[in-house]
C-alpha cells in the first residue's frame, strides 16, 4: 500500500497507508484528516479538498484534467503544485507523496 503523508495547516502530520485505486481525498477522509473537507463528495464542485502535492523523486502523477485545471484556477491560495485531492487516484507511483493542506478551503 502506498504511504501518503498529510500535513494539516497547523503542522499536525498523519501518515496513511492508502488503498490502490481509491482517491487521495477518500483516503484522507477515511483516516480522519480534518483539513480535507470534501463537502461535495468528489463531484468537483466545492474546492474543499484542495492540497499542495510534493512527490518523492521517484514518484509521478498524471496532469490535472481540463475540468480540474479550470477549478484549480479558482481556488484561494493556488500554487504551482495545487491539486484537488478528489481527482487524484492512489497509484504505486504516489508512494511517499506529501500533501500539505491550505489554511482555508474554498
Amino acid at each position: 500500500m502506498p504511504r501518503l503523508t498529510f500535513v494539516e495547516f497547523d503542522g499536525q502530520t498523519r501518515e496513511v497507508d492508502a488503498r490502490l485505486g481509491e482517491t487521495v481525498m477518500r483516503s484522507a477522509r477515511n483516516a480522519g484528516v480534518e483539513g480535507i473537507i470534501a463537502e461535495c463528495g468528489g463531484s468537483m464542485t466545492c474546492l474543499t479538498c484542495h492540497c499542495y502535492v510534493t512527490l518523492p523523486e521517484s514518484g509521478s502523477l498524471p496532469e490535472p484534467s481540463a475540468n480540474e485545471q479550470e477549478m484549480l484556477d479558482c481556488v484561494l491560495e493556488a500554487r504551482e503544485n495545487s491539486r484537488l485531492s478528489c481527482q487524484v487516484v492512489v497509484t504505486p507511483e504516489l508512494d511517499g507523496a506529501r500533501f500539505d493542506i491550505p489554511q482555508w478551503q474554498g
Binding site: E34, I37, C40, S43, T45, C46, L47, M71
Partner: protein, 417 residues
C-alpha cells in the same frame, strides 16, 4: 431588442407575500430543543417535519408518499453524499412547479452538465471581484442612510436590503424594477401553500426573463445575465428554460438566504458582546464567525430528497418513493459532531463542518458569494458603527421560523458619525 423589458406586477398589486411567509416557514421561537428530543429517539424517524412542527403540509408533494426525517449528523451527511439513492427529484414538486427546469431539481448526469456551466461564474476568483465592485457600494450606500442617527433596525434598514441590492446590481436591473422582481420572486415560492398566487408570479417572471435574455444577448454588458447567456462549456450554451429558472431562483437562493444568514450572525454577536468585541479587534476571526453562525442557526433548517430505491439506512427500512427531510438544523446541533452544540462560539474549531450549504453535488453554488457578502457587510458594520450594541430600550432580537430562520428586527445603538 435594445429596450429593457418591463416586469408586470401581480393582478392584485396590494398582495404582500412577505405577510404570508409564516404559513410557509413557521413562526417558532426556538425549534432546537424539540429537534434535540427527536434526535434522541433515533437517527431516522418516520415523520413529516412540517407536520411535526404544526405547519400545513406541502400541498405539492404526492399525498401518499411516506416521509422520513434524518436527525443525526452522520445520517444527514451520508444521504447528501449518496445522490444515487437520495435524489433531488423531491424538488420537482415544489421548486420545479415554480421555477421550472432548475439545476436544483436535476440529478446526474444532467445535473453535472449544467452545474459546471453555472458554477464557473460563482467560483471564488470571480466572486472576490464582485466583493469590491458590487457588494461594497451597496453596503456603504445603505449604511449612509442611517449612520448619523445613532440607532437603527439593522434588519429593516440593512440586512433585508443589501443582498437584494447586490442581485439588482449583478443583473443590472433598475431599482424600481428590482422591487417588483423581489415581490414576484417571493410570491412564486408560496406555491407550496397558495398555488394560484405562486403560479401567477412564476408566469410573470417567465415572460420577463426570456426578453431580458434576448436584450442582453443583443447588448451584452458586464452583468451576470450577459455573462451567463454568453458562457459556454464544450461549445454549449445554457438552454433558455434552464437560464430562466436560474434567474427565477436567484432571489430566494441568493438574496433571502444571505439576508437571513447575516441577520443570524448579527443577532448572535449582539447577544454576545464579548465575542463581538473580540471580532472587532481581530478580524481574522470573521471567516470562522460566519461558519459558526451558519452552524448555530443556519437559515435553512431542512433540505429534501426523494428515494429512488429501497434502502436500509441507519437501522430503518426506507422504501423507494419516500420524501426525505434532511434535517441540517438537527445535524448542526448533533453533540456527536459538535461539542457543546447549543453554545455559540466564534472560535469553534470545526464550525465549518455544518451542513447549512448542504453537501454533495448540490452543495450551494453561491456559497463563496454568500461568504464574501457577509464578510463585507460585517466588516463595514464593525468599522462604521462604533460602540454597536443592542438597543436597551427595545425588545431584544428574537429569531423566528421552523423551515427558515430570521429575526424580524435588530434594534441597535451606536456612536453616530
Amino acid at each position: 431588442m435594445t429596450v429593457l423589458p418591463k416586469l408586470r406586477d401581480l393582478e392584485d398589486a396590494t398582495f404582500s407575500p412577505f405577510m404570508e411567509e409564516s404559513l410557509l416557514f413557521g413562526a417558532h421561537d426556538d425549534p432546537y430543543p424539540f429537534l434535540a428530543e427527536l434526535r434522541e429517539k433515533g437517527p431516522v424517524l418516520k415523520a413529516d417535519y412540517r407536520t411535526v412542527m404544526g405547519l400545513g403540509p406541502d400541498i405539492t408533494f404526492p399525498a401518499d408518499a411516506p416521509h422520513y426525517m434524518l436527525m443525526s449528523y452522520e445520517a444527514c451527511s451520508k444521504a447528501l453524499l449518496t445522490p444515487s439513492v437520495f435524489s433531488n427529484q423531491s424538488y420537482m414538486y415544489n421548486l420545479g412547479a415554480c421555477f421550472g427546469r432548475s439545476v436544483s431539481t436535476m440529478d446526474a448526469p444532467e445535473h453535472g452538465r449544467f452545474r459546471r456551466i453555472f458554477q464557473k461564474v460563482f467560483l471564488p476568483q470571480y466572486v472576490k471581484e464582485w466583493g469590491g465592485s458590487v457588494v461594497d457600494p451597496v453596503v456603504n450606500e445603505l449604511l449612509e442612510t442611517f449612520i448619523h442617527e445613532g440607532k437603527a433596525d439593522l434588519v429593516n434598514q440593512f440586512t433585508l436590503l443589501y443582498p437584494f441590492g447586490v442581485i439588482y446590481k449583478q443583473l443590472d436591473l433598475p431599482p424600481e424594477e428590482g422591487k417588483i422582481f423581489h415581490k414576484l420572486a417571493v410570491t412564486q415560492t408560496l406555491v407550496s401553500v397558495m398555488r394560484d398566487k405562486g403560479v401567477e408570479a412564476s408566469d410573470k417572471l417567465g415572460e420577463f426573463f426570456p426578453r431580458l435574455i434576448a436584450q442582453r444577448r443583443a447588448n451584452p454588458g458586464d452583468d451576470l445575465v450577459s455573462l451567463l447567456v454568453q458562457t459556454e462549456v464544450d461549445g454549449e450554451y445554457l438552454p433558455e428554460d434552464v437560464l430562466v429558472s436560474f434567474f427565477r431562483q436567484l432571489i430566494n437562493a441568493a438574496g433571502d438566504t444571505t439576508y437571513r444568514g447575516t441577520s443570524v450572525l448579527l443577532a448572535n454577536l449582539l447577544k454576545h458582546p464579548d465575542q463581538m468585541e473580540a471580532l472587532r479587534q481581530d478580524r481574522s476571526l470573521l471567516p470562522n464567525a460566519i461558519e459558526e453562525a451558519l452552524r448555530f442557526d443556519g437559515p435553512v433548517l431542512e433540505q429534501s430528497r426523494w428515494t429512488t430505491t429501497d434502502i436500509d439506512f441507519f437501522g430503518t427500512h426506507i422504501p423507494a418513493g419516500s420524501l426525505i427531510h434532511v434535517m441540517a438544523g438537527s445535524a448542526n446541533r448533533d453533540p456527536a459532531k459538535f461539542d457543546n452544540p447549543d453554545v455559540f462560539d466564534i472560535r469553534r474549531p470545526n464550525a465549518n463542518r455544518h451542513l447549512s450549504f448542504s453537501g454533495g453535488p448540490h452543495i450551494c453554488i453561491g456559497q463563496h458569494l454568500a461568504r464574501v457578502e457577509m464578510t463585507r457587510a460585517i466588516n463595514a458594520i464593525l468599522d462604521r458603527l462604533p460602540n454597536l450594541k443592542a438597543d436597551p430600550d427595545m425588545p431584544p432580537a428574537q429569531l423566528k421560523g421552523a423551515m427558515m430562520r430570521v429575526p424580524h428586527h435588530l434594534h441597535v445603538t451606536f456612536d453616530p458619525s
